[in-house]
Amino acid sequence: MLEPVKLANFFIVFFSAAAVILFGATYALIFAWSRIKARPGLMPLAYVAYMGLFISVLVLAFAAHLFHNELWSFIVLLMLAGYLIAPHAIWHLCIGTHAETEAAPSLNISQQH
């Protein structure tokens, strides 16, 4: 069953949905930047961005009544987990795909984990 968004919550839905994507990208950006430049000090900032995403997803979920239904609740949980893991996974993939035939030592990207 679908519960449409209440008129008063339209703006919240638009705003939080946009924030989900923007925080997701910011998290990915700072995460990758911190790793490539070997600056672990930046990593907490990445997780601050993820917290922003986390809150935005929850706000979106409440405003769009997503927790009133199991399937939609599952999608919410999947987004929370998926966006957390995705940059890590993609990062490993980057190292894996680039490392194949290249000499690795020029970069100390895998040291911090």
Binding site: L2, A18, A32, I90, C94, H98
Partner: protein, 479 residues
Amino acid sequence: MAASGHSPAITMNGGQKLAMKYFTVAIALFGAQCLFGMLAGIQYLHPDFLFGILDFSINRMLHINAMIVWLLFGFIGSVYWLLEDEAGVPIVGLPLAKLIFWVFTLAVVVVVLVFLLVQIGPGKQSTIWLITEGREYIEAPRWADIGIVVCVLAFFYNVAATFARGRFTHIGGVLVMDLVALAGIYLAGMFYTPNISMDQHWWWWVIHLWVEATWEVLVGCLMAYGLIKTMGVRRQIVETWLYIEVALMFGSGILGLGHHYFWIGTPEYWFTIGGFFSALEPIPLVAMVVHAVFDAGHHKLKSANNPALAWIIAQAFGNFFGAGVWGFMHTLPQINLYTHGTQWTASHGHLAFFGAYATMVIAFLYIALQKWRGNVWMGGNLVGAWKWKWAIFLLHAGMITMVMAMLISGYEQSQIERAIEGSTWMGYFAAQGHRWFLQGMYWRQIGGWVFSAGFVLLAWDLLTIGKRETRSALQVPGE
């Protein structure tokens, strides 16, 4: 890659010469898209403008069809551009390819003339066959549909046979499979049914599976070739990532079709399928962000072609905001119930088509022009660089103005027309007459003027860039 030779005839291969023809038509049609978009926009502000002569429906139809066809011409041209280079052999059927170009162009001209001069017909099958099919984006009459399929099949034959004779690279393989899908999916839109639900169900196969699946993969192939050629990224890395992108895009895009099946009579299970895959669709974008940062830090990027690089960066941002942010803002059915069929959709459509596709074709045009003008310098201090810089600025400023204006109009419309008044005739016009809506349309028009100015500058730049340049291009260590 021959570096010298100021006469294009020496260094250009057959496919590349043909590509320049496609690019020329593409840019002309891009101009037509701007023109008819402007006319349609004016009609929002002055309803009597060209009333009964060139009505909104005709302008709007030409506006969106010009876009589809110019992007298609841009894609086909780009593929012909890279084909011989990538396959390592001359195009198998170049005379056929040239013939098809003229047939295709002539068909487009005839269709446009019929749209302009005949416009509509009686409610009979003959109208659908000869004048217009009257279905958004695929209004082209049935004879032209068949022509398009024949042209795409001839194109497919040339691409597949050339790769088969030369070397079948991974880029080539993905490209060939994608073209099969591109041609096959178009067939889903070529039938008549009185049942509007059935009609729109299959219509979305064409629109969605083109725009949100096969076109994306095609652009992925072009991007892969561009990265190897202009930035010297190692082929194996690029090709692995092409497959990763295909997996992510088709994995989220094919069943993402569900987000168009909320309100057209299709069953309720599409709500969750559409919602689920819409939530997944930003994942490829996040992947690109991480990978771009990785690449930027990993390789010392040396750009041999600044305008192309600028447009590729614009593509990354445009795709992210247009498809990602603007798409996700209104894609969940809980809110889409109110935004579906309002200026919201127009706002998203403008930014996504421009950001994801127009930018990529323009980037490829600059890559092609560099060689066409004799492999000239297009790095820093390029002679007359202000033109491409101002063009990219004006096109983006215009686009962002239009998109924000339509967003505000759409926001008002979703509330007053859709939520409060329930989409009745009265509700529709109550929303259309609202201050926010009217001001939105006014600013949209200003954005349109700015965008059109950007187009004129872009066209001028494409005609002249590199002509007065005597330095030869920066050599990128390829492969």
